[in-house]
């Protein structure tokens, strides 16, 4: 299952990438992505990262589907 993951702000800088493509098993949940990408740091990041699929916020328990675009959203600060 092919998933495109978009990274912004501090998360983008951590990986030095604004986009990652992952081939994931069916039924992978949104919350499983942080450990895959950030290893031990994931625990700390989980507390303050939100998730969006195809530009709409979703809960961490949401299952990914083939072709989904997942965005990792570190704390926002517009305005």
């Amino acid at each position: 299952m092919n998933t495109r993951i978009l990274l912004f702000a501090g998360l983008r800088e951590r990986l030095n990438k604004s986009e990652v493509q992952l081939d994931l098993p069916q039924g992978t949940k949104v919350c499983e992505i942080l450990p895959i990408l950030f290893g031990e740091e994931a625990a700390k990041l989980t507390r303050c990262t939100l998730f969006a699929i195809n530009q709409n916020y979703v809960t961490p328990e949401t299952e990914l589907h083939d072709g989904d675009e997942l965005t990792l959203i570190p704390p926002v600060a517009g305005g």
């Binding site: 978009l6 800088e13 965005t71 926002v76 517009g78």
Partner: protein, 137 residues
Amino acid sequence: MNQIVITKEPICIVRLMEELSQHDCCGALVWFAGIVRNENDGKPVNQIYYECYEPMAKKELEKIVQEARQKWPIHQINITHHVGALPVGSVSLIVIATAPHRKEAFDAVQYVVDELKKRVPIWKKETYESGQEEWLH
């Protein structure tokens, strides 16, 4: 009418004001401008860099505007966010609402600004006088 703009060009308040069509049915126009401050938490700030996930930001702003319209009878809403590198003193955000009565216009503008700061995927990195940089939240 809604207008939602995310732009890398500096916001020209005067032009915005001229563009805003006035409506005889509206007794109140409320306007908020966010300005890049020269300090944060006691640290002197030189510059702010705003990063934005633009398509989602616009979608989320549309939702916020719809919520505001369900709560208050607003006529016009105009949201303009400047992204990229902004020097101290420049305008980062403008939110304008017109409504028949002032209470509704004040409430709507405050709601939009509050929700924008909570939900819209825009990030802010401050550069301090010391040269140090930090992503804010």
